[in-house]
């Protein structure tokens, strides 16, 4: 057999590609449920950490079911669903594509030590890729209790600093609306933030900081109507 003939080369390539495709699809299908479970637990972990409940991934599901009382789905300021699974399953990456009032977004209602907290998911654009996070509010739907952020590929040491306490520790105590009017929290040039509606950005991470600024305004707005009436 001539292994260098054209016919053989084509046959070899075809057989190889089919074999590899079958093998990889099998592995992907077989491991999918386990991988999705990891992602789900990680999401629960970040939701909990925004209200100061720190658990490891294996304990996340249990803690989530105890602490999170309700998951509401909000559209245009109204509650459209109270189903826990529906709210949790909403993909923010898709949700933010529609305008503020048209999108269905989840609102996690947590009960920690008898106090009610509202947790709002965030999703926006950084410099290199998506940024996301969770902001938790007190029962007045106005004062921030905590925030955490995540990112796909922001620059380490610059934009990626949004995940560090140095940045997130500025959020507790800030407010998102003034006398019933929605304000959001601005991320401003480092050292210039004052008052209840602004935090310092990251020096050298301006575009990421602006991304977080836009994300906060964009993702908090759909809830403003709802919070006004609680």
């Amino acid at each position: 057999m001539n292994v260098n003939s054209n016919g053989y080369t084509y046959t070899f390539a075809t057989v190889m590609v089919v074999l590899v495709a079958v093998l990889l699809s099998a592995a992907s299908l077989g491991l999918k449920s386990k991988q999705e479970n990891n992602v789900k637990q990680e999401k629960m972990q970040s939701i909990l950490s925004s209200v100061g409940v720190e658990v490891d991934r294996s304990g996340a599901e249990e803690a989530y079911n105890t602490v999170i009382e309700k998951v509401l789905t909000i559209k245009g300021g109204e509650v459209v669903s109270e189903d826990r699974e529906t709210g949790f399953a909403i993909d923010m990456a898709t949700a933010i594509k529609s305008s503020n009032m048209d999108r269905e977004v989840p609102l996690y209602v947590a009960n920690k030590d008898g106090q009610t907290f509202y947790i709002v998911p965030l999703r926006g654009k950084g410099l290199w890729g998506p940024v996301w996070g969770f902001v938790s509010l007190e029962s007045d739907g106005n004062t921030v209790v905590g925030a955490n952020f995540g990112h796909k590929s922001e620059t380490p040491g610059l934009g990626a600093e949004i995940t560090t306490p140095m940045f997130t520790d500025q959020f507790p105590g800030k407010k998102i609306s003034e006398a019933g009017m929605f304000q959001s929290i601005s991320v401003v040039k480092k050292g210039t933030s004052n008052g209840d509606y602004a935090v310092d950005g990251i020096s050298g991470g301006t575009i990421t900081s602006n991304g977080v600024n836009d994300m906060l305004a964009d993702c908090l707005a759909p809830y403003a109507e709802y919070f006004k009436n609680i």
């Binding site: 260098n4 093998l23 990891n38």
Partner: protein, 224 residues
């Protein structure tokens, strides 16, 4: 035609053992051949990802070497590089999928670098230079040897970077808390060296290792 009957070689003959021990020192892929430097710089900030990376490379290189060696007489010469790429890419995807399922946190830390195993020059280099011309057992030994040579350097660099940069080893604090400079009480004399967290320090540590190795192993010194 030769009438000589080929003597079957013992599994761990001197020649085969050399396949494992050579890349360890005389022919180390990182310090002597200076291959695979990119990953050595990128994932050696902490010990744990360095260890996982070494094990992943070991799996990919050993398994890939064996596969390539088994089909070496079937591979059409004109598409051999593509065949090697397909083999290494599928193995890497398998590793990535398994890490995502069973070691999620580590897989997040390694992120793109698992995918970048594909571009690790050591792997394509060994496929092309060794596996295509040798039997599966030898190829396997060669794969293990080279990945150990790679892993040892990676882990050594990560050891120094994590110890001096973060004061931890595998995430555990090893520098006593009382050593650290405390601005409030005015005690302590020690601070972590933030430089070690940056990639250039990995290059310097690798450089120091190469220096030490050459000073000890005079075979490596070129004459000029």
């Amino acid at each position: 035609m030769s009438t000589e009957v080929k003597q079957k070689e013992a599994l761990f003959s001197k020649k085969n053992r050399k396949l494992i021990s050579d890349p360890f020192n005389d022919n180390n892929p990182i310090t002597v051949q200076v291959l695979g430097i990119c990953s050595a710089l990128a994932i050696t900030v902490k010990l744990e990802p360095a260890i996982v990376m070494s094990l992943s490379v070991m799996f990919v290189l050993a398994a890939g070497n064996v596969i390539i060696s088994l089909i070496r007489n079937l591979i059409p010469n004109r598409i051999r590089i593509i065949v090697q790429l397909v083999v290494v890419a599928s193995l890497v995807i398998l590793v990535d999928q398994f890490l995502k399922a069973y070691a999620y946190d580590v897989s997040k830390q390694l992120s793109v670098f698992v995918g970048l195993i594909i571009t690790n020059c050591i792997i394509m280099g060994r496929f092309e230079a060794f596996a295509l011309g040798n039997g599966p057992w030898k190829a396997f030994m060669d794969g293990i040897g080279n990945s150990i040579g790679y892993g040892v350097i990676l882990i050594a660099v990560a050891f120094f970077r994590e110890l001096l940069g973060s004061g931890t080893l595998l995430g555990f604090n090893v520098i006593p808390q009382s050593w650290y400079i405390n601005a409030e009480t005015g005690t302590g004399f020690y601070a972590n060296n933030g430089f070690f967290l940056f990639p250039p320090m990995a290059l310097i540590v690798v450089g120091l290792i190469i220096w030490a190795q050459r000073a000890k192993n005079t075979k490596l010194i070129e004459e000029n």
